[in-house]
């Protein structure tokens, strides 16, 4: 009997301490691609999140509570990502971060929506914000916003009448291609060649030959990093005429590094990148490299800014209320003056889409050079 009441007392103390401890933290799990096809993007995102979380915790956390984050690998598989999000939801989270792959997001955001938990995703597929989910928030342009910008450049800047499209056959590449072709059609630019490539493809000779045969005014390339580099090299080797255009990935530092000289002359639209001449972004890039030993791609920025957005909005409303957070974020604009961690002024609309400035750029002498800054769509 005595031991039982002692045990009960001990248990009560533990529970009290436990809940007291729980009051000190806020649970923000990260469900992200750390193996499989999305490993590179997911690793960048995760490291951006880690950097932000550590910085915020060092300054006392959000409203006095430290952020606790676990990183769960989706293996780039929607079925597994669903399991991981379910697991994250079981732990009563405040906000969920990730994934980056659109396929995974589409299946697991339904769960988050049902549980009324806000979710910050790195995915870019257009339809994610068109499914009536008031809890989903992007961290970069959806393809329905970035493609019109590059399409305008094709029509007005390059003044092309025909374009050859080269894209990678996964949901990133196909989604981009579909959006881009739609924009081309609505602007009266003819698609002279529609060339799909495989993820992980190494030999692009046949594809370059097809591009040459199409004789288009310009070439739009929408593939992942290594494939972009290999394509550029092959295109340069075979002497492809006409400007090579891309969207964010093609002009990124990684592609420039891997493609070497072949990247020079590439032009395009850059929605988000660690190479833009915004001081806050450059500072972030240096911090990231110091901590992790490599330079981040745009996914690192996405992860980093997402955590800071959550911090700012939560601090503004003064308490941890998920529904209120989602409501507050819709229509909210955060500037670097208000919250340095956001890096670039960002606005979320009522669908969860993002509005930011973006850039037109060209690769010159192995570096990304901004040629024009495009304003936000709203304002």
């Amino acid at each position: 009997m005595k031991s039982l009441s002692k045990a009960a007392l001990a248990a009560a103390i533990c529970m009290a301490l436990g809940t007291a401890h729980a009051q000190q933290t806020v649970n923000i799990p990260d469900v992200i691609e750390l193996s499989g096809a999305g490993a590179v993007s997911g690793t960048n995102w995760r490291d951006g999140v880690i950097l932000a979380v550590d910085e915020i915790n060092a300054k006392g956390g959000i409203l006095g509570r430290k952020i606790v984050t676990t990183h769960s690998d989706t293996q780039s598989n929607p079925g597994i990502s669903r399991a991981q999000v379910q697991k994250a939801l079981d732990g009563d989270p405040y906000v969920i971060l990730g994934p980056v792959f659109s396929g995974s997001v589409k299946v697991n955001m339904v769960l988050a929506q049902q549980a009324e938990v806000p979710q910050f995703t790195g995915a870019e597929a257009a339809d994610i914000t068109q499914m009536g989910n008031s809890y989903i928030f992007r961290t970069s342009f959806g393809q329905q916003m970035s493609m019109p910008k590059i399409a305008n450049y094709v029509r007005d800047g390059v003044k092309a009448k025909t374009v050859a499209v080269v894209w990678v056959n996964n949901d990133f590449g196909k989604g981009g291609r579909d959006s881009f072709v739609k924009e081309m059609n609505s602007r009266g630019v003819k698609v002279a060649a529609d060339i799909s490539t495989e993820s992980g493809q190494v030999d692009f000779a046949a594809d370059v030959v097809k591009v040459k045969n199409a004789n288009a005014d310009c070439v739009f390339i929408y593939t992942n990093e290594e494939e972009s580099a290999r394509f550029l090299r092959e295109a340069r080797k075979q002497g492809v005429k006409g400007p090579l255009l891309g969207e964010t990935t093609l002009l990124g530092q990684k592609v420039i590094e891997l493609a070497g000289d072949a990247a020079n002359g590439v032009r395009g639209h850059v929605g988000l990148s660690a190479d833009i001449p915004v001081p806050a972004v450059q500072e972030f890039k240096a911090k990231f490299n110091k901590r992790f030993g490599y330079f981040p791609d745009h996914n690192g920025i996405k992860g980093y800014s997402a955590v800071y957005a959550i911090k700012y909005a939560t601090t503004k409303i003064g308490k941890f209320d998920r529904k209120l957070l989602a409501k507050t974020l819709h229509g909210m604009t955060i500037t670097p003056a208000m919250e340095p961690g956001i890096l670039i002024e960002t606005t979320w609309d009522e669908h969860g889409d993002i509005d930011r400035i973006s850039f037109l750029a060209e690769v010159v002498d192995g570096k990304q050079k901004i040629t024009q800054t495009l304003p936000k769509l709203g304002k």
Partner: protein
């Protein structure tokens, strides 16, 4: 206390059933989801065990059949409004027929050649699922797959769907148990042990191998038909060669040709990586090392090891599970 003793097996079976029914009671939705995934994969592995473990045919096509079953059931229920029961049956039937048609030419070759032909088939099916957007919605996948409503019992909640999977698993297990014990089953095993002798005894080797292959494929289709409502979304990526290799792993690690092999193998392949997740970045590496070590220590699989422990002096008793 022999492993083949009927009573031992009956008790083990009852214990297993009891554990499976009680399992979700302490678990959160994530854990129940994993159990349901285990049940679905077990069904596919049972199919492969029939083809490989009992009939001795190395098939790497099982992932394609899971995919065909999943897409069949998803397309019929979402685009054409079929009731789940009908879609389910259709999925199994379609896979049986395709399995038969594939088996006809494929089974003329043996062993590693069959492995490569079925490997090619799996990759081809994946390409079709990905490229034929008009049918499968391509790389974007099919979302909003509803869980079935059976005679008024809604399986939408995690626990309900798990019990539904368990019922199907029980049905499949019972069917396979009877099949293996029937003259058909003995014919399969004769084929595996000594095809030449079997055919000299008048066993129509062609017919029986085809049968085993087709039934195994149909079971793959059944697993697929359950996979779609479990995840409530399908795209082509899970139904590629890596799933076939995974299912092969399940069958071999569990113990090829043992009745309970697929169950154990599915535990290793589906649940073990999840249990190892606490090691963060290393979990897949540890999993790989574990599988390699397991193969070195007990190449006959987990049940082979168990049997060795219980019967150290007898011959390898794979023939009579």
């Amino acid at each position: 206390m022999k492993l083949t003793d009927r009573r031992v097996q009956a008790v083990a079976g009852l214990l297993l059933v009891g554990v499976l029914i009680a399992a979700p009671l302490g678990l959160k939705p994530h854990g129940i989801y994993l159990l349901s995934m285990w049940a679905v994969m077990s069904i596919a592995a049972i199919g492969l065990n029939l083809t490989l473990g009992y009939a001795g045919q190395i098939s790497l096509a099982q992932a394609a059949f899971v995919g065909i079953g999943a897409y069949c059931s998803a397309i019929l229920t979402t685009s054409y409004g079929w009731p789940f029961g009908a879609a389910f049956v259709m999925a199994a039937l379609l896979c049986f027929v395709i399995g038969w048609l594939l088996g006809y030419p494929a089974l003329r070759v043996q062993h590693h050649y069959l492995a490569f032909v079925t490997l090619a088939f799996t990759t081809l099916v994946f390409l079709v699922l990905r490229n034929e957007e008009w049918l499968t919605k391509g790389i974007y996948g099919i979302s909003g797959i509803n869980r079935p409503n059976l005679f008024g019992w809604s399986t939408k909640a995690p626990r309900d769907f798990y019990y539904f999977c368990l019922i199907v698993l029980a049905g499949v297990s019972w069917f396979t148990w009877r099949l293996v014990r029937s003259p058909w089953g003995r014919a399969f095993m004769a084929l595996r042990e000594n095809p030449v002798r079997a055919s000299s005894l008048g066993v129509d080797t062609r017919r029986y191998t085809l049968m085993a292959f087709a039934i195994g494929s149909a079971l793959g289709g059944v697993a697929g038909a359950l996979y779609a409502p479990l995840v409530e979304f399908i795209d082509p990526t899970p139904f590629a060669l890596s799933l076939s290799l995974n299912l092969l792993l399940m069958v071999i690690v569990g113990g090829s040709g043992y009745f309970f092999g697929p169950f154990l193998g599915a535990i290793v392949s589906v649940l073990l990586p999840e249990w190892l997740r606490f090691t963060d970045g290393l979990y897949l590496i540890i999993y790989a090392v574990f599988v390699m070590a397991l193969m070195v220590v007990c190449p006959a699989g987990l049940l082979g090891l168990v049997e060795k422990i219980f019967k150290p002096l007898s011959k390898s008793g794979k023939a009579a599970p």
